[in-house]
């Protein structure tokens, strides 16, 4: 019994990480309708950038992140102006092809620059990498809790930002109808650029935690992309709170799958993802996003 409780708790915490990784992906999909296939690879770029700064100056990755954030925002600007804007004009599918090409270029450039060695940020954060609280037989990693809290703060903060600030509302309006917002004085081009920059800031944070909780190589991006995508889709395309739920569903599925069979970790995650997909297209179950909104509607 204790094993199962432990699995669920670890799964929820893992889900926090997945939703953090999914945050930028879901944000860009919900705001611009673009799935960025270079998402995972860009998180790995942030991981390498933070690793380089930490290694070079001997500082904590958290400090290094502050330096890397503007760089990732700049990458967001280049991504939007150089690739997404141009490809989005050619239809919904061209951004997929373009970002797929970008991912191949970037991961191989990383390989050229950093080689095939696995890297980790864990050595730079002292004992945080393995410190944990013991509650009975259940050990709760402090880093996992930190990641979970950051995920809630980021997803919640972005949600509030979208609903309560002028810029947030402009972003949502642009998502609804990029042509019409021009009539009410919103510069859709600028808004989309800001949105991509914001997404890249969350990618930087996700990339840092990727490096802290595990190891990464230049080719780690696609796996992170798949997890992020699963979390985002399970969560539905309407709300960022849904993404948090989606991440947790994925994380719990994986840890329970691993509990059942050592090879079950990844299989269970993918199977649950597909089952939810099938259920949703058969219209049996609403997206968690809309469920979350309904629940919020009940409480407010």
């Amino acid at each position: 019994m204790m094993d199962w409780i432990n699995s669920i708790i670890q799964g929820v915490l893992l889900g926090g990480y997945y939703s953090l990784m999914a945050c930028g992906l879901a944000f860009m999909f919900q705001v611009m309708g673009i799935i960025n296939l270079a998402h995972g690879t860009l998180a790995v770029v942030a991981g390498f950038a933070i690793w380089t700064v930490s290694e070079h100056f001997g500082i904590s990755p958290f400090l290094a992140l502050i330096g890397v954030l503007p760089a990732m925002a700049a990458i967001g600007w280049i991504l939007q102006r150089g690739i997404l804007e141009r490809s989005a004009r050619a239809g919904q599918l061209v951004p997929l092809l373009a970002t797929f090409g970008l991912a191949i270029v970037v991961e191989n450039l990383l390989f050229e620059g950093f080689g095939a060695d696995t890297r980790s940020l864990a050595p730079y954060i002292d004992t945080l990498a393995y410190d944990s609280w013991a509650i009975g037989d259940v050990f709760i990693g402090q880093l996992s809790v930190l990641i979970f809290v950051i995920a809630v703060v980021l997803l919640g903060g972005l949600s509030l930002f979208l609903s309560n600030t002028h810029l947030g509302r402009a972003i949502r309006a642009t998502a609804e109808d990029p042509d019409t917002v021009g009539l009410i004085g919103i510069n859709a081009r600028k808004v989309n650029t800001v949105a991509t920059c914001i997404a890249m800031l969350t990618v930087a944070v996700a990339g840092m935690f990727l490096g802290m909780r595990a190891t990464f190589t230049p080719y780690s991006g696609p796996e992170q992309l798949v997890f992020a995508f699963e979390a985002a889709v399970i969560g539905g395309s309407k709300s960022l709170w849904g993404t948090l739920v989606g991440g947790i569903v994925l994380g719990v599925s994986q840890t329970i799958g691993a509990q059942i069979n050592p090879q079950g970790f990844l299989i269970a995650g993918h199977v649950v993802f597909l089952v939810i997909l099938v259920a949703r297209v058969s219209a049996v179950m609403p997206a968690f996003g809309s469920l979350a909104r309904r629940l919020r509607g009940l409480t407010s």
Partner: protein, 362 residues
């Protein structure tokens, strides 16, 4: 629908008849090739045929169906696995190549019912999840030994020269057969339906196009084709390592070939496969920079030349070697709007390469 008498709807033009004749002659030449080709050339051409299959199948799915998938390695890997599995169960290894591919095609049908209901960009990466899952499930088969993989030992019983020649012929036959199916399908009602769906799904549905069934046909064809390619690949490589076969790089190659050759053009996929084959032969040894070059080329084509090489040539010169659409020929002396000398200027949509210039009687 009747067509005004001043225009004649035609499919075959003198140019395309010559092109088709050259194509048939080329196939005959390739079929008798092993009599005088050396072993190296036979192996190289086998690989080229497999690339053509991969490009043509991804093009049918994405270029004509508008269904972009980054998970076609699922079918490539499953095709290879099915061939090895069936041969191990005692089926003739060459029969198992095709039986395996067809069984993967059958498996793809139930898959299509829910995958095709996804929105376009969700479908793209949802297929990737399918590929990951297929990979993990194949690893569970004790025959495969997890990531260690296994060998297609049943094929080793054949004499080396005979084996390579038989694989060559199998690949050639599969390529010609699949290209033929795509060609006939595109000329049929399904072909017109699928392009209508690609351009506007709601509008297509409103004029009576059966959206889901049409998409399923194309999805299953692309799955069967990719599985055939995977089976042929494992036949010529002998070793089956799941990681290699279920790698997303296969889809990257397909995207590269189709984007460079010309997405949505029948000839473009073939051109793209030949270009990719040559690039790999010349630059493949460069490793990482070769891959960077492939990715960058795909990116540049997606951004700046989305119609690819063949599509751009087609736009410019109105050439069409293999007639999968219709063209209007203005009768001499007609004074209708339009340029009588250039039948293809009657094309309406810039985005649609094969848009029928006149709808057939439906």
């Amino acid at each position: 629908m009747t067509v005004p008498s001043v225009v004649r709807v035609e499919r075959w033009t003198p140019g395309s008849i010559i092109a088709a004749a050259i194509g048939v002659a080329l196939v005959v030449f390739l079929a008798v090739g092993p009599v005088f080709f050396n072993a190296n050339l036979i192996d190289k051409l086998t690989i080229l045929f497999i690339y053509v299959i991969l490009a043509a199948m991804w093009n049918a799915l994405a270029g004509y169906g508008g269904l972009i998938s980054v998970g076609q390695q699922a079918f490539f890997g499953l095709g290879a696995y099915a061939a090895v599995r069936l041969a191990n169960l005692g089926l003739n290894p060459f029969l198992s190549l095709f039986a395996g591919a067809i069984s993967v095609g059958i498996v793809s049908l139930p898959m299509s019912t829910f995958m095709l209901r996804l929105r376009a960009s969700e479908f793209a990466i949802g297929m990737w999840v399918i590929a990951e899952l297929a990979h993990l499930l194949v690893n569970l088969d004790s025959l495969i030994n997890g990531e260690t993989g296994t060998s297609f030992i049943e094929l080793n019983e054949y004499d080396v020269v005979l084996r390579h020649t038989l694989i060559y012929w199998s690949a050639l036959a599969a390529m010609v057969g699949l290209l033929g199916i795509v060609f006939l399908l595109l000329r049929s009602r399904v072909g017109i339906s699928i392009q209508a769906i690609r351009d506007n799904e709601d509008a297509a549905a409103s004029i009576g196009v059966k959206v889901l069934i049409t998409k399923r046909i194309v999805f299953a064809l692309a799955a069967t084709g990719a599985a055939t390619a995977g089976a042929l690949w494992v036949a010529s490589a002998i070793t089956f390592q799941p990681k290699t076969y279920f790698s997303v790089q296969w889809t990257a190659y397909m995207i590269f070939m189709v984007l460079v050759g010309g997405i949505g053009t029948f000839e473009g996929a073939i051109v793209g496969a030949v270009i990719f084959f040559l690039i790999e032969t010349w630059f493949g040894a460069m490793g990482v920079w070769y891959l960077i070059g492939l990715g960058a080329t795909a990116l540049i084509f997606a951004l700046f030349l989305p119609r690819g090489i063949w599509g751009s040539l087609e736009d410019r010169f109105g050439i069409r070697l293999l007639p999968v659409g219709y063209r209007l020929n203005w009768a001499k002396g007609s004074n209708l709007i339009g340029n009588p000398g250039k039948p293809d200027s009657a094309r309406h949509s810039a985005k649609v390469p094969e848009a029928p210039d006149a709808l057939p009687d439906i």
